[in-house]
């Protein structure tokens, strides 16, 4: 091992000779005087911990984090605020209520034998009247009922809505896979009990007349 390093030293012998010949640097004459003065004055400034200098990198890194946090907060903040928006909540409630009312009214028209449930019962427990196949009863399927597309039944019957030009209106037929944007006769107001009974009486009389006609046909045969 020693031989290897001795060989190495021989390899650099010329350079080592030059390095050894380099003049020795000496301390200035006043070195000791300055040192003693510093000690007497207790001027140890440089050996003490230096005050940290202003560093742009150290300053910019945390400020960049803070700024990005603020930006992210403002990006996600409106979505959380949306939940507190009372106007939006009201429209959603209206959507739900109208969906329930719509399904019950269609059921009532088809099934005239059943007794009419009170509007309070409908609101308190709508699932009683909803079938499993009803769109409003299906979880995750949301009926798209737009206020702009709904019309008032009373106005429709009386013909008061004839002058209104609703450009969004139109019948949309689809295969039932997607939530339909149907343009129906959606009652946006509470259904009047008397009106409902009147319609039910009309339907009943039609059905009775049909039954009578059927029985007469049988007699004739």
């Amino acid at each position: 091992m020693k031989k290897i390093y001795n060989n190495e030293e021989n390899k650099f012998s010329e350079m080592l000779k030059v390095l050894k010949e380099l003049p020795k640097i000496k301390a200035p004459d006043n070195f000791e005087y300055n040192l003693l003065t510093r000690i007497q004055n207790k001027n140890f400034g440089k050996t003490e911990k230096e005050r940290p200098q202003f560093n742009w990198v150290k300053f910019l890194a945390p400020s960049a984090v803070v700024i990005s946090a603020i930006i992210l907060f403002f990006i996600f903040f409106p979505s959380s605020q949306e939940n507190n928006n009372q106007i939006l909540q009201r429209t959603k409630l209206q959507d739900k209520q109208s969906a329930v009312n719509n399904s019950t009214s269609t059921k009532n028209e088809l099934n005239n034998q059943q007794s009419v449930p009170s509007s309070t019962n409908l609101q308190s427990n709508p699932s009683v009247l909803l079938g499993s196949n009803d769109r409003a009863a299906r979880p995750g399927v949301r009926s798209r009922i737009y206020d702009s597309r709904s019309i008032k039944l009373d106005d429709y019957i009386s013909g008061a809505n004839k002058n209104q030009s609703n450009t969004n209106r139109g019948n949309i037929v689809n295969n039932g896979e997607e939530p339909s944007q149907y343009d129906g006769l959606i009652v946006s107001e509470k259904p009047d009990k008397k009106t409902l009974e009147r319609y039910r009486a009309v339907v009943d009389s039609i059905k009775k007349a049909q039954l009578k006609a059927d029985s007469l046909k049988k007699v004739q045969k």
Binding site: Y5, F12, M15, V18, L19, K24, I25, E32, L35, F44
Partner: protein, 190 residues
């Protein structure tokens, strides 16, 4: 008292706080430390400050010296650490300074091409070239090369100063020498 060894002097200074012992040690080591730090840093003013700081540290932390170590290795360790810190500080200053010149960043060894051989033989210029070449050598290699080939310290002493294994010290010295020889090739052309 001047005949006492370094270790005896420091013991005297530690036990009795004798200022004379401190003065003698300062006188003994100011020049070797100046030479070591100058070759390492390459600036006379900075070198003086570093050695002054070394002596101040010695004055303030005399009790941190343990008698099992050699005084020379202890004081060289302090000086070496301060010199390395100074180099780091200078490097940082160069990075952040707006109008940093290339001369400050790296010594222009390439200038050697324009020095006539007769002038290169001139001692002052040659020494200057060697110093600039030394500063071009990597810090880790430079330190050990200076301690070994300029300060004439043993491998064991260098190992103690740097805190490296003797094998590492030897390999670093060889690498440093190789780098230096490559840089000083032109000096041996004649």
């Amino acid at each position: 008292m001047t005949e006492l060894s370094d270790e005896d002097l420091i013991k005297e200074y530690q036990d009795n706080n004798t200022p004379e012992a401190y003065d003698i040690l300062v006188k003994r080591y100011k020049d070797p430390l100046m030479n070591f730090v100058y070759r390492f840093v390459g600036d006379r003013d900075i070198c003086t400050d570093v050695v002054q700081d070394t002596m101040i540290k010695f004055y303030l932390n005399k009790d941190s010296y343990r008698s099992f170590a050699k005084f020379s290795t202890w004081i060289y360790t302090i000086a070496g650490n301060l010199a390395k810190n100074e180099l780091k500080r200078r490097r940082r200053r160069i990075i952040f300074s707006i109008d940093n010149s290339d001369d400050e960043r790296s010594p222009q060894i390439e200038d050697k091409m324009f020095i006539a051989p007769d002038k290169a033989a001139d001692g002052t210029i040659r020494n200057e070239i060697i110093q600039k070449a030394l500063l071009k050598v990597k810090t880790v290699y430079r330190e050990v090369v200076i301690l070994r080939d300029i300060q004439d310290l043993s491998y064991e002493e260098i190992s103690e100063i740097t805190g490296l294994a003797i094998g590492t010290v030897k390999s670093r010295i060889n690498r440093g020498r190789a780098q230096l020889q490559k840089l000083l090739k032109h000096i041996y052309r004649e």
